[in-house]
Subunit: 273 residues, 4 copies
Amino acid sequence: MTGVSEAVGSAGAGERVTAPGPRVRLVGHSVFTPPVDVPGFEGTWTTDAADGDALAEFAGRACYRSWSRPIPETADNAGYLDHILQVGHLAVLEHSTATFYLTGVPLSVAAEVVRHRHFSVSQLSPRHQAEAGPEIVEPAAVAADPGLHARFQQAVDDAAAAYAALLEVLDPAGAGGRPGVRNPLSGKQAREAARSVLPLATATDLVVTGNYRSWRHFVGMRATDPADVAIRTLAVTILRELQQLAPHSFADFRISALPDGTALAASPLVRDA
Amino acid sequence: MTGVSEAVGSAGAGERVTAPGPRVRLVGHSVFTPPVDVPGFEGTWTTDAADGDALAEFAGRACYRSWSRPIPETADNAGYLDHILQVGHLAVLEHSTATFYLTGVPLSVAAEVVRHRHFSVSQLSPRHQAEAGPEIVEPAAVAADPGLHARFQQAVDDAAAAYAALLEVLDPAGAGGRPGVRNPLSGKQAREAARSVLPLATATDLVVTGNYRSWRHFVGMRATDPADVAIRTLAVTILRELQQLAPHSFADFRISALPDGTALAASPLVRDA
Amino acid sequence: MTGVSEAVGSAGAGERVTAPGPRVRLVGHSVFTPPVDVPGFEGTWTTDAADGDALAEFAGRACYRSWSRPIPETADNAGYLDHILQVGHLAVLEHSTATFYLTGVPLSVAAEVVRHRHFSVSQLSPRHQAEAGPEIVEPAAVAADPGLHARFQQAVDDAAAAYAALLEVLDPAGAGGRPGVRNPLSGKQAREAARSVLPLATATDLVVTGNYRSWRHFVGMRATDPADVAIRTLAVTILRELQQLAPHSFADFRISALPDGTALAASPLVRDA
Amino acid sequence: MTGVSEAVGSAGAGERVTAPGPRVRLVGHSVFTPPVDVPGFEGTWTTDAADGDALAEFAGRACYRSWSRPIPETADNAGYLDHILQVGHLAVLEHSTATFYLTGVPLSVAAEVVRHRHFSVSQLSPRHQAEAGPEIVEPAAVAADPGLHARFQQAVDDAAAAYAALLEVLDPAGAGGRPGVRNPLSGKQAREAARSVLPLATATDLVVTGNYRSWRHFVGMRATDPADVAIRTLAVTILRELQQLAPHSFADFRISALPDGTALAASPLVRDA
């Protein structure tokens, strides 16, 4: 296992379209350390799950000091968190977080991710300049059709050429272009102006942290709508990671395949838009 | 007065570049209704300011029931809110809000606006389809140079042509194009894929609501950095509206002109990034 | 009409229990100013509702530039916002806010209100010192029984006496008490320590601002649970004000009477805890 | 080491005042897992710190893909995060969280903690009923004076007696009291009404999760004001834990002793209220 999940297929070699679609790596998550002075069955309180699942159960039990486990249905972590999800006591899922490093995210998809206000996001700065020029993420529906792929390739090449041409005039020092420009800008201003011709398919990187409640909200909104292919595919990839990390906190989501080969996830417990 | 502020200059007629830069209209704001049973100098408590400025003072005085005005320096609304700003008691500025309708906002700038997590934003849906094709916002630095303008015009024309070509195949019914496509998508999926070639200069509309504290934070971050021309110009335009709406809540910001003709705003009371 | 809503019944004269239960006044709200350059049926776009209801509709229509009204069911503001509530597009309700001045709120209830993280709250400072001593809010179930009322009265009198006795030693200058105290504190520290014996029934004042979405969440959580009398009664009182202010944004909530004479509100569209 | 920090001194045995002041245990925190495909000096990128400090550095470097370490001052984690703090790029500190289990927190202090809106909090339910009756936290300034201590003890005993007397009538089944009450309530309603006589010194438990930026804000506001002894002492205790957990993210805070023996913390980089 590589620890890297790919959200969509890969691009051919030797082309400007270098980014093969979002890659998803879990780079941070919560761990649980039971306090030594909370009583358990024998000695310190503990449970039969790790990390974020355990922390959520601990927080839930702290609300009633219900450290003993009188009810069989909720005596283990899976049963306890299932009950939490059923009754909607989602606040206890806020104590556990997961951080993903997402690369190769098209700017159009990144704009959707950063709108989730409960996430904390660090994004690749537009000031960062890849030496090879802008990286591009091709939509799967375009890549699947040779004619569309060629048309897309031409469009992103045109955009890259325009970007370089604007930058050469606006930032001659940075781009090595002609001096004597009438309206010299700072390097950052120049790149900002030149970037205006870059396509929405341009790739960016995101470090995104959310607590489990926020991730459930994100998956519940984004992995479920057949109409949004790109962000849905990303959301399902993230969900697979979350279900490995915290199986009981995300146990209610089911992943299924659509006729077009893409995946979709849904939960009977996610009721709101 | 038209009630419409233009953030940057206008485009020539007959070109694809139809959006003349962000336009800013105040479409919503808070008003204050003094409660009949809070005592003032004669009868009900009142102050010498209106709307959001008055509401902020009311909230501040409610924390101490300091309805009388014993201290001359803070006896009027201007003095009271100046004191609030000096001591950083900014929570009272959260009770008053302002809502702007922003049109002609390039997607690159919109992405910066929606990242402010304390704003509430309604954005023009990508599903909305302008009949005349995508609207484009030209950067001021590009528009100022005829050669750059021509290069920019060509780039956005190329992108519009590619968008139309992709859409014709992906959504033949919607775009009136050829039938028999191998991989038919829903109309929304088709537009999502085709949009990937649109430039970041594509215009969108935003309805943005923030409370005064959030707007102060936005202006303090965005109107002050010489490097970010487009969002700085927008932030200064919004500040001018806010200073008309609530002069005492934004009294500390000073607007000045940079050598390149653009404006910048700063306040000695904004200390954090 | 006085503009003051009382959430619960009143106390007898001449007793320490001076606060008759929370009083609710609307002191701030959003108004809508249609932009002059958005087209309507004749001239500027407008609608058949005012203030926050209108602003929410404007924000919703801005997402599609659907200024014309082709669909009869959503052609007026009531129908449009009913559709918004049905499909859960609640983000457009975030643009409109309402601010309430609540006085006579027991500290136990205030703690529940301030936990709603999307509210902005200004609270009466503990440093504020009512000349007549702490104000007390008697629970309705206690006030209804003469024996319980007498027991409650004795308890709050005991607490007030203990508070005064502690303060006399800890802050002799402020309280006029004996000098020579061994451990002199600042006046604020002294009141903080003395306050520890005050009962949860002690009254406070709150200025609370929320957008319509937040108020819907508050009402949906707090006006619906038969078990929480005090905050439920407050939430229903606030709902009545909101339904006067913005009838279409809160049209789905129905208020009913419980056997014990208190009120409860519910909506079929509020599904989550 | 016990893993339990005590914020203030302990109460005598055999008294109702059982809670010795807030106890602080770190029960959850973020760990960092470097992605296998991000390049470092030799193989995978790594750094010379663990957990949250490392995750914050990773997020900061991801904004510029600055995985190599060209600048000596920021080549190690301590230097990098010092730079982050100096320039105020605090967003990268949002990726790392710490969760504390706080017990023995007086309700007056808990109300201050839960007002920090960026925290996630699970609080001991008022429905939880300690068999021994309400637990009480005595203010340090009161405990230090035998006369005040006796007066405080009497006051909390009076309150406990009143609580029991009200509960006996309101909830005879639960409390074992007389039947035939005229106005029978649910058990929860009865406890809610009876609780109104409990003092603010009543203890509660909190599970509080915040990211490092939120904890810095909390410590910056609460550990610094000499006037607020109880929450200041708690904030300093939490800071000590945070400085053990993530020394570089909290390196700028200095803890010092006040003349009264309590501690205070301050940082030259915390400038706002």
